[in-house]
């Protein structure tokens, strides 16, 4: 596919219709009758809806691209509600001048990611903005899922004594993208962890349906996810630094740049909180799943009227783990 996005691709005329037919519908399939809206037949149960915007730069990064990310992000948000994701809608804001080959690559990758996650992309929208008014392409996806009977995931339900489990290594996405974007060479083959987590969540809930809290630690990293849970459940959380799964490349990059891996974004990891007596069963089902092989119990919920997240360091001291303040500022000496 050659050529570039021009203003006519968003003008509602033939050029737009052709773009939709030859690119979007070809990749996503035509979801039945040509309405302006999609009609869904959902199984019984509580419906979960989530929406997310994607503005990542660069559009293509080691381990993924903005298209697959836009699917994984929303699929995972739905899965964190304990729901089985069924369908997505996608809104595209294209910048004039975007190579159509890039758009095709993004849309193809999106379609593949949707197939892998078992969801269909049922409706969409395309707008074009003038050159310089966007950054290639922005994508917004909205997803719908249904919570199976017997499952209640509730971010306010963590209880003192509960176990805190992460599904794998932390910080891979943020460090991979940052290194790629800034041209930082760490001599590594680190790739983003971006992937769907609904399969893993399904396996976890089948074995341990009474998981209390699920969260995917994306922006703000594990620190933000656990601080949010502590606040919502009005508890404290204590984690153990030596238990955190971290790739050596991520540790090294964070040391070098003065970043805390607990603040770095993940796009294919989750944190689960469950009753302590269910922790080993949950851990084993996670470790048996392809996307949870490196899962680890990293801490537990404690009584703390200040609702702080704290961490025992390898040296035996304790420190707080706060939300990140502003941007991550590298140290200068």
């Amino acid at each position: 596919m050659s050529g570039h996005v021009d203003m006519s691709h968003g003008a509602g005329g033939r050029a737009m219709a052709r773009l939709i037919d030859t690119l979007f519908l070809k990749a996503f399939g035509s979801g039945g009758a040509p309405h302006d809206a999609a009609t869904l037949d959902l199984p019984p149960g509580r419906v979960v809806v989530s929406t997310d915007g994607f503005v990542i730069a660069p559009l293509f990064f080691p381990g993924g691209d903005i298209g697959s990310l836009a699917v994984h992000g929303t699929v995972n948000d739905i899965a964190m509600g304990g729901a089985v994701p069924h369908a997505l809608t996608a809104g595209f804001i294209l910048e004039e001048g975007l190579p159509l080959a890039d758009l095709n690559r993004i849309v193809t990758s999106m379609a593949q990611a949707a197939r892998d996650a078992g969801v269909t992309i049922v409706a969409g929208d395309t707008k074009v903005v003038e050159r310089g008014k966007g950054d290639g392409v922005f994508i917004t996806t909205t997803g719908v899922g249904v919570v199976p009977a017997g499952v209640t995931i509730d971010p306010t339900s963590a209880q003192v004594g509960d176990a805190v489990i992460v599904s794998g290594t932390l910080g891979d996405h943020g460090v991979a993208v940052m290194a790629h974007r800034e041209g930082l060479e760490f001599g590594t083959d680190l790739v983003s962890d971006a992937c769907n987590l609904n399969g893993l969540v399904g396996a976890m809930l089948t074995k341990v349906p009474d998981i209390r809290v699920l969260r995917d630690p994306t922006r703000g990293g594990l620190a933000a996810a656990l601080n949010e849970i502590a606040q919502a459940s009005r508890v404290g959380i204590e984690i153990n630094e030596t238990a955190l799964p971290l790739r050596p490349q991520v540790r090294g990059a964070c040391e070098l740049l003065g970043l805390d891996p607990l603040h770095v974004a993940n796009e294919g990891k989750l944190v689960a909180i469950c009753a302590p007596e269910r922790a080993e069963a949950l851990l084993s089902v996670m470790q048996a799943h392809d996307k949870g092989r490196d899962a680890a119990i990293i801490g537990h919920v404690i009584d703390d009227p200040s609702h702080f997240l704290r961490m025992v360091t390898p040296l035996g001291g304790t420190r707080m783990v706060d939300w990140i303040a502003g941007e991550q500022l590298p140290r200068i000496c």
Binding site: T242, P248, R251, G252, E255, G258, D304, S306, F308, R310, V312, T313, P314, L315, G316, G317, T318, R319, M320, D322, A325, G326, E327, L329, P330, R331, I332, C333
Partner: protein, 371 residues
């Protein structure tokens, strides 16, 4: 990770903690100032307070480059970026430091100024090469650690004839600050945890005066937690024995003469200022550098006239006292409410090496527990 995990070994840390507990004399209090923000950060990040006995009090020193920059110099950075058609390049920590009237480089950038965060002064040189029609100013801050790289960049710019590149020089000197703290007389200090990277440049001799003339032991040490623990142990031993010498615990990096090439570059490119204003320490004689006359063409202070506001500081902000070790962060009336890393009113709450930011980010659960 080799060379990282070795200096964070839990068993060795516990062994050092036991040795320190065994060494402290009953009924005696030990007040040690860690000069560098890097040490302050390490102590907070690794929870070392929990490993030290109550009789040892670590006093956070002024070794945080953005913390000691006075309001007037922050105002100058903002004025440079807003009053002239320049691209201002700066290390990221400076972006959020409040100047007069709650202004900051972050706000100036949001208002349209071209301000770029760089990891290295060499990135600023690259910006200058890429934008030959623009004046590019590197706002140079830091102690002897970041000074030699600035020297290299200016030399490089001179060699290339890069006429659109200048440096706004705010480089300051560590021994002068230590001298000022001791001369102030308001901070009780039994010894210094001495700078690590600074000492790699300047060597060990500049600290002799503090041991010899002021009776303060100095143990130069690295930024890893085991380094800090070992330095504390050595300081306790010196205090107990009534000894005052400069010890180099950081021998894997620091040599007695220091880095001769870096020192020669600094001597060639820079001249000592008669005096320089420091946040917290006031005007300190012979405490900072400006570009040498031979390189005056690269001096932004000479090239750009600035209309500066009368510097106004937040009267309630205790950064000055915190930087001298007179107050702890939590003694400041603004600490935590409203001053936080998200909404910093004082410089010590901005940089991760600032005493207030380190305490708020890593240690405030202790204040809550105690209070």
């Amino acid at each position: 990770m080799k060379y990282i995990d070795d200096f964070r070994d839990p068993d060795l840390a516990q062994g050092l903690a036991r040795a320190i507990r065994a060494a402290v004399a009953p009924g005696r209090t030990y007040r040690f100032m860690e000069f560098c923000g890097g040490h302050t950060h390490a102590i907070a990040r690794f929870g070392l307070e929990d490993l030290l006995p109550d009789s040892i009090r670590m006093i956070h020193g002024p070794g945080c480059p953005v913390c000691v920059l006075p309001v007037a110099r922050v105002d100058a950075a903002i004025a440079l970026a807003t009053q002239h058609d320049v691209i201002l390049c700066t290390y990221a920590d400076l972006m959020r430091v409040p100047g007069s009237g709650f202004r900051s480089l972050t706000k100036a950038r949001a208002n349209g100024a071209d301000i770029r965060m760089v990891y290295s002064v060499m990135d600023a040189l690259a910006v200058a090469r890429a934008h030959p029609d623009w004046q590019v100013v590197f706002f140079a801050i830091g102690f002897e650690t970041t000074t030699p790289p600035t020297a290299v960049a200016v030399k490089q710019a001179a060699a290339e004839g890069l006429e659109n590149f200048t440096v706004h020089c705010n480089h300051v000197l560590t021994p002068a600050a230590m001298r000022a703290i001791l001369a102030g007389g308001t901070t009780q200090i039994d010894g210094f945890v001495g700078p690590s990277h600074v000492s790699a440049v300047i060597g060990t001799a500049p600290y002799d005066e503090f041991a010899r003339d002021h009776g303060k032991p100095v143990v130069i040490t690295g930024f890893e937690p085991l380094d800090v623990m070992q330095a504390v142990l050595h300081l306790v031993h010196q205090v107990n024995a009534g000894r005052c010498v400069v010890e180099n615990q950081y021998a894997r990096v620091v040599t007695a003469p220091g880095n001769a090439i870096a020192q020669a570059l600094m001597a060639e490119l820079f001249t000592l200022r008669d005096r320089f204003e420091w946040r917290g320490l006031g005007w300190v004689p012979n405490s900072a550098l400006r570009l040498a006359d031979a390189y005056a063409a690269f001096d932004a202070e000479a090239r750009f006239a600035l209309d500066l506001p009368r510097p106004t500081e937040n009267k309630a902000c205790a950064c000055g006292d915190v930087l001298r070790g007179v107050k702890r962060p939590e003694d400041c009336g603004l600490y935590g409410d409203p001053c936080t890393p998200e909404n910093p009113l004082g410089a010590c709450m901005v940089s991760s090496e600032g005493a207030c930011a380190a305490d708020w980010t890593y240690g405030r659960f202790r204040r809550k527990a105690a209070g």
